[in-house]
């Protein structure tokens, strides 16, 4: 393939809120550039994990190389670098943005800009990216492109006069987007002869090639056979293959400054080629790594246990397989008195946690039980020793604790102004500290709060969505640790403490939380032959109690005219239900109980 000059390369990302049409636009761009025929197009080429498609979000980022013949008669290479679209993946977003010179900002002309989008725009501005606004969904009757343009101008301060008005769904004005990319996104710079500096913006494990790193070359040249060094670890490897992504991997003889492509070098684990790291030439290393690398640390932890009859080892194998592609997932074995052998797993956030759980269940067909999510608490013991506690069961007795700290986040909530009251009430309920409120325009505001992360991971997001009919959006980042009066809340079922339900909560919330959990457990645990007391306790003090009444009747009075099938169906349904139970003492607890008790209660 003939090498195209650096000045004809454009590296860009698409920034959009969930549902604002990023994937659809990506599809159209790929179609328009003629790299793929329409028949080859899988709907939404970039989101290729089943789960992503269903949730309409992009979890792992990818890059694709488009060839576009512009109206000026030149052929351009457009490298589209996809970014994940959720608050849990801010760091990964920032690294893929760092690989670009520009970003298309897609805004739904019926919705306007959202908090997460804005957060990502700020990330892009931090990386000095050129922002190309695009107004989408103009085919809808409720589209209000002029207002939305003005909103973007007011909020972000970028000129929207020439913003393409498109409908990605209908393929309307897609060419305008391509032209805008060529025109406004700067060409990459960098010297192909300088020492190698390549940014890893994504990596995944391939069972044939080892880890495949997606890279952006900033300086120098990357070739097969070359010895490379990963700068954060200092480990060296020999390059096996370099290439570019069209609809598939195509190997090339070299990647040069400005290029986006992939490299394989028999790297065994994604942990050794983390996102944000810099690859350089072992024999002619660059002096300085690219800025911005950090090792992402989990913020949310939970226990994952094999369900009744499921094998511990298959859960471990599945987690290992997931981890190969997900450097931010951590896990270690732990045991629970209630649930037996399992794993304590760490995640970037709640969404990440849910995604992992679902993948375990769907892709690995495992039955798992998940315990309540927890954050990391810092505990200073009376002896002066400081502990980091991710599992409430490991909290030392209250008498040995001098003080405790919990993680605090700054949260930005963007909302139509109608819901400000409801949100303030909610945040206050979640121990939020109001910082300030900004009007973005007449009817839209952003609220800034400081809030304990353990409140955010509880049911905050669901509550926010529910109270604002889905209109509010949330973005948060860790601010630091603050001292807090925390207690361990235990749940006893039939007199037995079930460690998997234990939670660390603020002391002012303990009573309410305990009562709410007891009530919910009462609803989700089926009635048994005997009455089952459910108690919430702090230490030895019972703070709430519910009783599940004994089941008095479970009998089918009649088998109609020999219709045994019907009776069996009924029993089989009952049997199916039992399979999803976890035996705790003599009580059968449904797996969902471990999570549903934490879900937002609409009626509260």
């Amino acid at each position: 393939m003939e090498k195209i000059k650096q000045e004809n390369i454009r590296n860009f990302s698409i920034i959009a809120h969930i549902d604002h049409g990023k994937s659809t636009l990506a599809d159209r761009l790929i179609e328009k550039t003629g790299m793929l025929t329409s028949r080859e197009m899988q709907e939404q080429v970039l989101d290729n994990m089943e789960l992503e498609r269903e949730r309409g979000i992009t979890i792992k980022l990818k890059a694709v190389r488009l060839v576009y013949k512009a109206k000026d008669g030149n052929e351009y290479i457009l490298n589209l670098i996809d970014t994940p679209g959720h608050v849990d993946f801010t760091y990964e977003v920032s690294r893929s943005l760092a690989a670009c010179e520009g970003a298309i900002l897609v805004v739904d002309s019926t919705q306007g800009i959202e908090a997460q989008t804005l957060a990502n725009v700020y990330l892009a501005l931090d990386e000095d990216l050129e922002i190309v606004p695009v107004i989408n969904k103009i085919d809808l009757p409720s589209a209000r492109p002029d207002e939305v343009k003005k909103e973007i101008e007011d909020i972000i301060g970028i000129d929207c006069e020439n913003a393409p008005l498109i409908s990605a769904k209908d393929g309307l004005n897609i060419e305008d987007v391509l032209e805008a990319i060529v025109k406004y996104v700067p060409a990459p710079k960098g010297d192909p002869k300088a020492p190698l500096k390549a940014l890893i913006f994504d990596s995944y494990y391939d069972s044939y090639k080892g880890v495949v790193c997606y890279v952006r070359i900033f300086e120098g040249t990357l070739k097969p056979g070359m010895e490379i060094k990963i700068m954060s670890t200092g480990k060296t490897y020999e390059v096996q293959e370099v290439g570019i992504n069209t609809s598939k991997h195509v190997s090339v003889d070299k990647l040069e400054a400005g290029d986006v492509g992939y490299v394989t070098a028999s790297i065994k684990n994604v942990k050794d080629a983390r996102v944000g790291d810099t690859i350089t030439d072992k024999n002619n290393p660059t002096k300085e790594a690219l800025p911005g690398y950090k090792k992402v640390v989990p913020m949310v932890y939970c226990g994952i246990y094999p369900a009744e009859g499921e094998d511990f080892n298959s859960v471990r194998e599945a987690l290992e397989k997931l981890q190969v592609n997900d450097a931010s997932l951590v896990f270690e074995p732990e045991t629970s008195a209630a649930l037996g052998f399992g794993f304590r797993c760490g995640f970037l956030g709640l969404l990440h946690m849910e995604i992992v759980q679902e993948r375990l269940e769907r892709e690995f067909d495992l039955n798992i039980v998940t315990t309540a999510p927890s954050v990391i608490y810092r505990v200073t013991k009376t002896t002066g020793e400081v502990l980091e506690i991710q599992n409430p069961s490991n909290l030392p007795p209250a008498t040995e604790i001098a003080s405790m700290q919990e993680p605090i986040v700054t949260a930005n909530i963007m909302t139509p102004s109608d819901y400000v009251g409801a949100i303030m009430e909610l945040c206050q309920n979640k121990r939020g500290k109001f910082l300030n409120m900004e009007y973005l325009e007449e009817k839209r505001v952003v609220l800034h709060y400081e809030m304990p992360l353990n409140e955010v991971i509880y049911d905050f997001f669901d509550a926010l969505k529910s109270k604002t009919r889905g209109y509010a959006s949330l973005d948060y980042e860790l601010k630091g640790y603050e001292e807090s009066e925390l207690v361990k809340l235990d749940i006893l079922i039939n007199g037995e403490l079930v460690d998997a339900f234990s939670l660390i909560v603020h002391k002012d919330k303990a009573y309410e939380r305990g009562r709410s959990i007891a009530e919910r457990l009462k609803d989700v645990i089926p009635r048994h032959q005997f009455a089952i007391p459910i108690q919430a306790a702090i230490g030895s003090k019972i703070i709430a109690r519910e009783t599940i009444r004994a089941l008095r009747k479970d009998v089918l009075a009649k088998c109609y005219g020999g219709d045994i099938t019907r009776k069996k169906k009924l029993l089989e349904k009952q049997k199916e239900g039992k399979k999803r139970m976890r035996q705790i003492g003599s009580v059968e607890v449904p797996q969902e109980a471990f999570l549903t008790v934490l879900k937002y209660d609409e009626n509260k």
Partner: protein, 378 residues
């Protein structure tokens, strides 16, 4: 010769009751002649298979078999007698509802060889009868009963129902008392089931049914049982009671997992290691048989392990339970070898007992039989 039972479904009713989810119609009277003909055709289609058996019981159920003219029943039965092998001492039952039977019908039933009648009484309380959508009044129960006795029907069952909205324990016991006072040989005492799609189901969902609570409902069941047993009726199945020798042989066929052929709309059959059932769409049913095709909608092969499951689940419905020797005879394996754990678990729970000869539900087990039965599913 092997024996078999026949179930015949008559889907017509004067009106649908609020708790009923059987296949039945109250507005399709013009289809009756065609339907009755279709039944004969269906029997014809089974002729070859049926000739390998002799028929030991026939049960004509509904719907309301007594809602149609008596001659249809007569014709159908005579057709059966003429064409198939019959066992000695056949039990031939028809379900009737008070208010749909008169002297002529009773007579023609008797002439047709019917020797057992099951009356859909439900309750001897007019207020309750009305509130559940029955068309008859208490007076007609007595009349129907008298008519049948006059025609020398010597085995009469009454279907009673308890756990109805606004029904009290006194109501329940009064109905039982009345049935006993009249001298019926058999009583089926069913707990109300709220089946999806019925009026009652929908009302209950809206919270508009004043049902007795579980404790009250179980009290009704056990008090009724005590009373019936005291009066000489043996409690032989979860919901059935009979004077000695009057247990319903047809229903025992179901519970003993013996073969039966169901003909008619939505009927179920079990024979030759298969369960199968007919369509519930009357037009389909008539059309299929019009072209001499079996109106079967689905079937399930019953392999040995399924047969064992079903044998236990159904066997436990009988008060005397599962006879261990018979189990061994039928399946060539000890029941403990398959279900030892389950049996022990529920003995511990107090839901079943093992008296050495049989495995049976305890009194508490009768209330919670599903909990036991579900564990017999593999």
């Amino acid at each position: 010769m092997k024996e078999i039972s026949i179930y015949i479904h008559i889907p017509f009713c004067i009106r649908k009751c609020y708790y009923c989810d059987f296949t039945s119609f109250s507005n399709l009277n013009e289809k009756i002649p065609l339907y009755m003909n279709s039944l004969k055709t269906e029997l014809e289609l089974y002729r070859e298979k049926l000739l390998a058996y002799s028929i030991k019981t026939i049960f004509i159920g509904g719907g309301t078999p007594s809602a149609i003219e008596g001659r249809y029943i007569y014709d159908l039965l005579v057709h059966l007698y003429k064409n198939f092998n019959l066992s000695k001492d056949m039990e031939i039952t028809i379900e009737v509802n008070p208010g749909t039977i008169d002297k002529e019908k009773a007579k023609i039933y008797k002439e047709a060889g019917i020797n057992r009648v099951s009356i859909g009484v439900q309750t001897f309380n007019n207020r309750l009868l009305k509130s559940i959508g029955r068309i008859h009044e208490v007076e007609q129960i007595y009349e129907s009963y008298k008519l049948l006795r006059k025609e020398k029907i010597e085995n009469i069952n009454m279907d009673l129902i308890f756990g109805l909205p606004n029904q009290t324990l006194e109501d329940v016991l009064f109905s039982i008392e009345e049935a006993i006072r009249l001298g019926v040989e058999h009583i089926s005492h069913y707990s109300l089931i709220l089946e999806e799609g019925t009026q009652f189901y929908n009302l209950n969902k809206k919270g508009k049914l004043n049902l007795p609570d579980e404790d009250e409902e179980r009290l009704m069941y056990h008090k009724a049982t005590e009373y019936l047993v005291e009066k000489g009726y043996s409690h032989y199945e979860i919901s059935n009671y009979a004077l000695p020798g009057f247990e319903c042989r047809h229903n025992l066929v179901y519970w003993d997992l013996l073969p039966y052929l169901g003909i008619g709309l939505g009927s179920h059959s079990y024979m030759e290691n298969k369960r199968f059932f007919n369509t519930s769409n009357i037009l389909d049913y008539i059309e299929k048989l019009g072209s001499k095709l079996l109106p079967i909608e689905g079937e399930e092969i019953i392999n040995k392990s399924t047969e064992i499951e079903e044998y236990c689940i159904l066997g436990l419905r009988k008060i005397k339970g599962i006879d261990k020797n018979e189990f061994k005879k039928r399946f060539n394996v000890e029941i403990e070898d398959i279900y030892g754990d389950v049996i022990n678990k529920h003995i511990k729970n107090g839901l079943i007992i093992d008296d050495g000869r049989s495995i049976m539900l305890t009194k508490k087990g009768l209330d919670l039989s599903n909990l036991v039965e579900v564990d017999f599913l593999k």
